[in-house]
Symmetry: C2
Subunit: 334 residues, 2 copies
């Protein structure tokens, strides 16, 4: 309980100095016990541990981060966490990171370009050890800032020739065309119900192109919900009663189509084939089981974590552009 008058008030928290005094060693020794215990003599280490426990000392990572320029913080930017799409990626990222002693900070852009820039600034200000971006970053200003910061960046869920740093994803264009080929075998009158976010649009455009511009298109502004899916099917039927195959830009939309079809007595897949995209873990448990484009979202999270914590992705030969691909999982709904 020292009552030394200071020119500036301390926080009242237990600090390294307090622990050091109690243990009768210097502050750096405490620091070593915490960060590199192997270089400290057993005896000293034990004494220090005791002092730490006695005082209930919790290291101030802000101070440590400032001194070491390592924050053990990773930032992730997503359009929204409440859409199920990026959820398992974020979850596996958080988990992989936590086991390496890192924490995840989350920012939502709400599909808003402007907010993205503010967010990026706020994030860089915290000097995270890594930044995880959903989709490739397009604002020139943000790109510049990100590159200037020197912070490792992973752009995910998309592919680009010139990543800021590392990109882990797949080709949305290829998804569009492959699903088109797939559905050609299932129906004659094909439609698509699609979200209007950037990546969904790329899939839509290549889907339409592969179908020679023929498919009926229903655009849905995010979030893509069950309701939007039901409504989408209604609109599609209004436009063409003979519609017999639909590509939905999310499994939620597809679930909506499934439900609306059931209500209307449309038999799936005999009268209508439905395929979704990427987001629901439980597509297989629907009735009928939903066909979907499968993306390994967990793997994206794990690889990103590996990159941030070790500086390279060993299993991929430290490549900067990693194409994870995708697969079309055909189930009862097609």
């Amino acid at each position: 309980m020292s009552d030394i008058k200071r020119s500036r008030k301390s926080t009242g928290q237990v600090t390294l100095t307090d622990v050091a005094k109690l243990a009768g060693v210097s502050t750096i020794t405490i620091s070593r016990v915490l960060n590199t215990p192997e270089v400290v003599a057993e005896e000293t280490r034990l004494a220090v541990q005791k002092a730490i426990n006695q005082t209930g000392y919790v290291p101030n990572l802000l101070a440590g981060g400032l001194a070491s320029t390592k924050s053990r913080l990773i930032a992730a930017v997503v359009p929204t966490i409440s859409g199920p799409v990026f959820l398992e990626t974020i979850q596996s990222l958080t988990e992989s990171l936590a086991s390496a002693g890192y924490q995840l900070m989350i920012g939502q852009t709400g599909y808003d370009q402007e907010r993205e820039e503010d967010l990026i600034s706020a994030i860089i200000g915290r000097r995270p050890d890594g930044i995880f971006l959903t989709g490739v970053m397009h604002s020139a200003e943000s790109r510049k800032r990100l590159i200037a910061s020197g912070i490792p960046v992973v752009e995910a869920w998309d592919l680009t020739d010139k990543p800021i740093d590392t990109v882990i994803g797949f080709s949305h264009k290829a998804v569009g065309s492959e699903v088109a080929e797939f559905l050609k075998k299932k129906g004659k009158n094909i439609g698509i119900i699609t979200g209007t976010d950037e990546r969904a649009q790329i899939r839509r455009d290549s889907f339409c192109k592969a179908l020679c511009g023929k498919p009926l298109v229903i655009n849905v502004s995010p979030p893509t919900t069950i309701e939007a899916g039901r409504d989408g099917l209604r609109q599609l039927l209004k436009a063409d009663k003979k519609i017999d195959a639909i590509f939905c830009s999310s499994d939620m939309l597809a679930l909506g189509v499934l439900i609306e079809a059931q209500v209307k007595g449309i038999k799936i897949p005999s009268e209508l084939s439905v395929i979704g995209f990427a987001d629901l873990g439980s597509s297989r448990d629907l009735e009928p089981a939903l066909s979907s484009v499968h993306i390994d979202g967990m793997l994206i999270g794990r690889l990103a974590a590996e990159y941030f914590t070790t500086g390279a992705i060993a299993s991929k030969d430290s490549a900067k552009i990693i194409d994870l691909g995708f697969s079309i999982t055909s189930r009862a709904s097609t």
Copy 2:
């Protein structure tokens, strides 16, 4: 490009000092332009702004946080973000926080008590300006640490007499008994399919008590999925063919029940009533529309953000224990 030899390498980033030199003022003036622009003369402010833009300066919030003991970081602890239950709370928390210039850090316990303690330590180490806890905190050690840290804490999605600081939630016990009363009117042979996390168990116990211990109970370890719901209904039917009302501890489970019932040709609600709990925004869009216990998860997030950013929850008279209640939304499934 100063080439002064330093005993310790700087990070190479633009700092306040660089901007100050360029603008021809002291560092503190730059700091004021950034934090309290109203106290700086217009002329000075403009000159400083120019210098900031020229250099592309991004304030180091780690340093700022250390000096000011305000990190503008809030930490949230959830069992898992991939269950939809807490999602909208987290989303609204992130949003409300962002608009006040705060960032959200996320930690997942995975329903694991031990990890919770480690996580709490890691979080306190970052000296966040607030900690958001899902559920009331039970480990004595963590409670002690949290209280000692002096950091504002919000425990949410549950209620307790002795919160660490502030609690925003509702009574799970009341949910159990009220749903029991509700289902008594809908069926004679009542069952419950429930997750095994703590809060779900409280609901289950009071549900069973209100039903005089009669209901059939199916326990499901988290996460509660559609598959588990389908399987749950199968088990329930095996145990009692006449089962005619079911309470599910999540809407996902309930959706599974709906699907399995459809497959088995069981009519809802005439032969079987189903009610879920709290998590799916789109319960109303299912077929039949799913009855559920409604919790205002968004409001929880907003109130918590208000507490963290302003120090009090004005609309609730700064109460420390806030019971948000719940409502039973009766739809076609019952």
